[in-house]
């Protein structure tokens, strides 16, 4: 079963006609306490959590709609091994310099460290049984993970993105996906950055040059197509 075309910018998405849940995955990026919860990494750096939490409610609605049509749902988590052996030394140095050292103790356990409370996905958009989880050491979701293999094995060619932060982990993943030939859609109200203007610019960067990294749409446009709007 396929659905219609999403009213997106700068072109109706997907380019090849209609949303097919069998070939599409919803990718939810880094909805972790460390990025949108009190006491996590982003909070420790002093950024406004309202910006990174803004997309939680619409993302929860999108998750429900995608689950209802049996679309593959993938969640990613950025975090390092407890011994930090997968953390590049410059990344570690920068985090300590800004006062939010990776692996250091914080209100939510050790910052950006696997297995800690801050590394967990927040309850609003938590994975359910059977959904795929990708643990990644970097900003992108393809590098040093099995994401590409999982997608190919399932015959998935189209990706719909939610998550945080727009200009860093979402962009790095979406750009890599686009370079690999996946047809990408970013849901503009299901994402946020540590700075609102940077968020807006990150949306523009997807759409420039005719949709150089894919397309952007409000979640309502996707929900309408899936019959949930």
């Amino acid at each position: 079963m396929t659905f219609g075309t999403v009213d997106a910018e700068p072109y109706p998405w997907p380019y090849d006609g209609s949303v097919d849940p069998a070939r599409t995955a919803l990718v939810c990026i880094d909805w972790q306490v460390d990025f949108c919860g009190p006491g996590g990494y982003v909070d420790t750096m002093g950024y406004d959590l309202k910006l990174t939490r803004a997309g939680l409610e619409p993302t929860a609605a999108v998750l429900a709609a995608c689950r209802a049509v049996a679309m593959t749902v993938i969640h990613t988590r950025e975090g390092h091994r407890p011994d930090l052996s997968d953390c590049p030394p410059n990344k570690l140095w920068r985090s300590k310099r800004i006062g939010a050292g990776i692996g250091d103790a914080g209100p939510c356990g050790r910052i950006l460290t696997r297995g800690e409370p801050g590394w967990e996905i927040v309850p609003e958009v938590a994975p359910i049984e059977g959904e795929l989880i990708i643990d990644k050491p970097g900003k992108g979701s393809f590098y040093a993970t099995d994401l590409d293999l999982l997608l190919r094995t399932r015959g998935i060619t189209h990706l719909i993105f939610t998550g945080i932060t727009t200009d860093v982990c979402v962009h790095t993943t979406m750009r890599d996906a686009n370079d690999r030939g996946y047809e990408c859609l970013l849901l503009e109200d299901c994402t946020g950055a540590t700075d609102y203007d940077n968020y807006l610019a990150a949306l523009s960067m997807v759409k420039m040059q005719g949709g150089v990294f894919g397309a952007v749409a409000p979640s309502s446009a996707l929900l309408r197509v899936l019959g949930a709007g």
């Binding site: 750096m45 310099r97 370079d179 690999r180 030939g181 540590t194 610019a201 960067m205 005719g210 150089v212």
Partner: protein
């Protein structure tokens, strides 16, 4: 005893992070140096001119110049870098010893030998500039950073597609203490390399 040297004036932190500015571990990476990008960016000639000057300093200091050659990414809608299968001819001159890397899409690491070329030469710090800050340069910085490379984005040698979006893209790089690395200028990089004993 290691002599610590930083490029002056970089932000949000003194680059490189460890103060080891060894030209033998440095590559100047030119992204988007092709006709497709030149036709779609502002002040491309100015960026290219600065890259040419910087390339000479990097070569003379013992570093490597890497020029990316972007091809179209797969079967998608294909708006960029499209026009057939490639991003067009190179618009930057290649000198002896420079490395041209074919890549698929916007990131120099996508479907390419770039990581191997760099690691094989013991290079772990990159100064990145080129045409298309918001496209080829930003993609390459993000991918390089995940791989552990210490990156400096050369702000005066990056041509923007759009003035406002480009300046916000630079701002993004400086968030979280330098999320993909640091920002600096070619003149400051060249000064630091020329001072190296």
């Amino acid at each position: 005893m290691v002599n610590r040297t930083h490029v002056p004036g970089t932000r949000p932190y003194p680059w490189p992070y460890d103060g080891i500015l060894d030209p033998r571990r440095l590559a100047l990476v030119v992204a988007g140096g092709q006709t497709w990008f030149a036709a779609r960016t502002l002040d491309a000639e100015e960026a290219l001119s600065r890259l040419r000057t910087t390339a000479k300093v990097v070569r003379d200091a013992g570093g490597v110049v890497v020029v990316l050659h972007h091809a179209c990414p797969g079967p998608g809608p294909g708006p960029g870098p499209g026009e057939g299968e490639r991003g067009g001819d190179l618009v930057i001159t290649i000198a002896a010893g420079d490395v041209v890397v074919d890549c698929v899409g916007m990131s120099g690491f996508s479907g390419s030998s770039l990581d191997g070329e760099l690691r094989g030469r013991g290079i772990d710090r990159l100064a990145v500039g080129g045409l298309g800050l918001e496209t080829a340069v930003y993609s390459t910085l993000g991918a390089a950073n995940d791989r552990g490379y210490e990156c400096l984005a050369l702000v005066d040698a990056c041509a923007f597609h759009d003035a406002d979006v480009g300046s916000r893209a630079l701002a993004s790089i400086t968030m979280s203490g330098g999320i993909f690395g640091a920002l600096g200028t070619t003149t400051d990089l060249c000064d630091a390399l020329l001072e190296e004993p």
